[in-house]
Each structure stands twice: as C-alpha cells, then as structure tokens.
Amino acid sequence: MANIRRLVLDVVIPNMADVVKLTQDLANLATVKGANTMVSEIDKNVISLKLVLEGANLKLKEIEKVIHSHGGSVHSIDNVVAGKEIIEVVDTPQD
C-alpha cells in the first residue's frame, strides 16, 4: 500500500476548542512533517477548519484520534496525495 504524503481534511470543532493546540498536537505526531490549519467558517458554536497535513507516511486513524481528543470531527477528506512523491494538481485546458 502506497504511503499517504498529504491529506486535506474538512474538520468541524466546537469554538471553545484550542485551534493552536490542535495544530501543534497534529504536528507533534511522528508521522506528520507539518500541519497547516485554516479557519474556513465560524459559526455560533462551531468552527470549520481546512487542515493540511504532510508527512512521509500519514496515518489517518492517529490523525483522527488527535482531532477527536480536541472535540473535533472530520467532515470530509477533501484531498489525498499518496505515492513516492507529492504530485500537485495540474490545470488542464478544460479547467
């Protein structure tokens, strides 16, 4: 099975959660090289985040565990990059 090198997740967390700590905890995972959290929407009680994680061999289960420990939940997996190297999305004339 090819290693997962990048994950883009749509995450929902209660707005009383600590987004900075969540990002640090994700970045502290041995399999994660770096984490980027962008707030995409703030509601009355919840915050929607776009979470970008990169690493040599990302483990979705352990990432979800950290997100759950902060009260968050993965709404959708928006982008997965797997293989020997990271392949970026390329624009085609149809785009």
């Binding site: 209660p14 009383m16 959660a17 009355k44 009680n45 919840v46 420990s69 902060h70 009260g71 939940s73």
Partner: protein, 175 residues
C-alpha cells in the same frame, strides 16, 4: 484574569461575611469565642465556595458542552472525553481552589485585631481593617472596569460599613 476574578470574589466574600460573624459573636464578650467563630465561619465559607465551584460551575460547564455537542451535527462526539473537558475541569478546580483560599485569607482579616487589641478597640479595628481591604478591592475592580476609583472604593467600603452596622444591631436584640 479568570483567577484574579476568583481571588477578588473570595477576598470580598471571606472578609465581609467574617466581619458579620465576629461582630455578631462580639456580643459574647469572649475573645476566644469571637476568634473561634470567625475562623470556623471562614473555613466553612471557604469549603462552601470550593463545593460551589465543583458542583454549580461543573453543572454549568456540562450544560455548555451539551450545547456544543448538539451543534456538532453529524458527529457523535462526546466532549467529556476530550481535552476541552480536561481544560474546563482544570479551570474549575483552579478557580475553586483560588476562591476557597482567598475566602479563607479574607476571613482572617477581620479576626486579626481580636488577637492584638482589647475587645472594644478590636471591634473598631476589625471594622476599619475590613473596610480598608474592601475599599482597596473596590478600587482594583474600579480600575479594571474603568470606573471612578474613589467612587468604586467608597462603594465597596459602604458595603463593609452596612454589614458592620447590621451585625452590631444584633446586640440590641440579644443583649
């Protein structure tokens, strides 16, 4: 900032309620009874404030967490198993301990003169020292809320004097 709120609240609560206790107990004319009543009242008040934080504030946090759980549509997450709950629990404990400790130390203030002065002077000393503490706390709160410092201090000192007046009026009913 949260802890300062608990400490200020505890100091006001402890000093004001114990002022009432010692002035009420002063009817006995026995310094030992006054000090024991003040310390006992102070300890009970401190424990009561700790219990208040651990029960009422915990209930409030749980209600809040349930609201967030309902807002997390599509997820069956239980926030009690998360770091949010751990952080809130820690805050409740720290707040409760700060409140209880400040309440106890606040309650010692009106008792101090009874360990140093004769009864009549100690009664006046107790009112003065408590009123002074309350006015300092009032000014501190006034500074935080950007009120007039003198007005905030006098307002809080007035609460001390009213409490003292009410407690001393008991003498007319029981003597």
């Amino acid at each position: 900032m949260q802890l300062v709120r608990y400490i200020t609240r505890g100091l006001i609560d402890g000093s004001l309620s114990t002022l009432g206790i010692v002035l009420g107990a002063a009817i006995s004319g026995d310094v030992k009874v006054i000090i024991a009543a003040g310390l006992g009242g102070g300890m009970a008040n401190a424990i009561s404030n700790l219990l208040g934080a651990l029960t009422a504030e915990k209930a409030s946090v749980m209600i809040n967490l349930a609201k967030y759980e309902r807002a997390m549509v599509g997820s069956n997450i239980k926030l009690k198993d998360t770091k949010i709950y751990d952080r809130e629990s820690k805050m409740i404990w720290m707040g409760g301990m700060a409140d209880a400790t400040a309440t106890f130390f606040g309650s010692i203030v009106p008792i101090i003169p009874f360990g140093l002065l004769a009864l009549d002077s100690a009664i006046i000393g107790s009112i003065l020292i408590t009123t002074a503490l309350l006015s300092v706390l009032g000014m501190y709160i006034g500074r935080l809320s950007k009120e007039n410092l003198a007005f905030a201090g006098i307002k809080m000192a007035a609460f001390g004097l009213v409490t003292a007046g009410l407690a001393m009026s008991l003498e007319f009913f029981f003597k």
